[in-house]
Amino acid sequence: MIKTEEIQINMGPQHPSTHGVLRLILTLDGETVTNAMPDIGFLHRGIEKLAERRTYTQIVPLTDRTDYLSSMLDNEAYALAVEKLMGVEVPERAEFIRVIMMELNRIASHLVFIGAYGLDIGASTPFIYCFREREEIMNLFEMACGARLTYNYIRPGGVSRDITPEFVENAKAFIKRLPSMLDEIDDLLSRNQILVIRSRGIGVVSAEQAVSYAMSGPSLRASGVPMDVRRDDPYSVYSKLDFNVITLNDGDCLARYLARPMEIRESIKILNQALEMLPQGEYTAKMPKILKPPAGETYTRIESSRGDLGVYIVSDGTASPYRLHWRPPSFINLAAVGEMIKGWKIADVVAILGTLDIVLGEVDR
């Protein structure tokens, strides 16, 4: 008889497919994962503590650095919460600019997911395709606010500067081109035999489990739960825009993957409408130099690219928040990963982790 025993291995924190500094402590029985323990906090910067020492305006750049792949959406979540506390009315043009930026950022973020997931399971070409298109979005953002990653663009009251007719033109041209590029990605990746075999039926999460773990975003909707804050509790001008909430039923890696390219198509739909409807007017409301929301609290949610992003602010009437808490969708989705990879083969770990699309900046804050 050969003596066999379980072994423990460390995956990360320096591992290319953990998408950042995540450490997974895996217990293996041969090729099968019998236990998985995520270890996080390597990127913890104490953003919630920092926020208590800064003015409301100074916090906006901090929000850029939580989910750094979709900073526009983080900006919006925070700005919306402060506006709610202060009772500010945002001009309609600013709202439309915000929606345009958010949906462009959602597309950019999903493109990174598609490319990175391809890499995770061994397809390196689509990654270059996705980044080529994402580059266009980065150029648009650079044109609007001068930054390519940390925008500090959506601020309480509106946006930091107006967009030009040239921006609108370029955005329209990009949106027109994007669907054919998505068809290309579908040919290369979504219908790729290797991707399908490695994803179908892997890492299945039931709707009940997903809700109990409070998962959100495409990862939740791929398990058949049609929850999307943009439709269920519309903020900004989403109630004026027509789009579908992509819901798939399998709850496996393939469903979680397919949800993203499908969501990009819905974002294109939103962008087409928003760019057409973009009204003239002010790009920001009149805001005081120092923001001092009245004492009180608010809990505000938006639909970020990774899911339900909540911002909880307790104000004591001073220029800094008494308490600021983010409900980070990546952190909460990641909490399920231990259960999700138990029982699957070690090669499936990267696929399952990849489809959760976590950003460690948001997990650790």
């Binding site: 996080i40 906090g41 913890h44 104490g46 919630e48 503590k49 709610k84 009315e89 945002v90 709202e95 489990q209 809700v211 109990s212 773990y213 409070a214 739960v225 929850m227 269920d232 509790d233 519309p234 903020y235 900004s236 001008v237 989403y238 109630s239 004026k240 009180g296 609290e297 608010t298 809990y299 505000t300 949610r301 339900d308 909540g310 909880y312 307790v314 008494y322 308490r323 808490h325 409900r327 952190f331 909460i332 990641l334 909490a335 399920a336 259960e339 650790d364 804050r365």
Partner: protein, 157 residues
């Protein structure tokens, strides 16, 4: 913006209040509304029972623990639960007060798996113990870290 208010709750704050107060004679008291969601203060001994009731009661179905966090007030800690009902599209906020000395609140991990990491984060940042939690360890800070960073009396090195 008016648009944000267009959305109509299928159950009103009044309905939620009636349901909770009808079921619990004591241990829970209403505390107004915040961002359209009714707020209740619950006593620690009742919190698990209240959560289970809100989650499983037909007509309420607050099956989604959106957020669990805490605030350090001068008078003591408050653990804040933001619940959401996916089917009714409604929110409710629960708060549990806890003293400054050896703060301890019962864990709701038996109701929602989502409470696991979020309670660990609160423990990590505020030093509030959640009794009945299966794995009460620090999560973001080092395991041997001294002090609780988000407490107001925390002194930075």
């Amino acid at each position: 913006m008016q648009n944000r208010e267009i959305f109509k709750h299928m159950i009103t704050s009044k309905d939620i209040e009636q349901a909770i107060l009808g079921r619990f004679m004591e241990g829970v008291e209403p505390a107004g509304e915040v961002s359209g969601a009714p707020v209740f203060f619950a006593c620690p001994e009742k919190i698990v029972e209240i959560c289970r009731f809100l989650k499983s009661e037909p007509g309420l179905e607050f099956n989604y623990l959106a957020s669990l966090t805490a605030v350090d007030y001068p008078h003591g800690f408050e653990v804040v639960y933001h619940l959401y009902s996916i089917s009714k599209k409604a929110y409710v906020t629960l708060k549990v007060k806890s003293g400054k000395d050896a703060p301890c609140v019962p864990s709701v991990t038996s109701v929602w798996l989502a409470a696991d990491w979020q309670e660990r984060e609160v423990y990590d940042m505020f030093g509030i113990n959640f009794s009945g939690h299966p794995d009460m360890r620090r999560i973001l800070m080092d395991q041997d870290w001294q002090g609780y960073p988000l407490r107001k009396d925390y002194v930075e090195e």
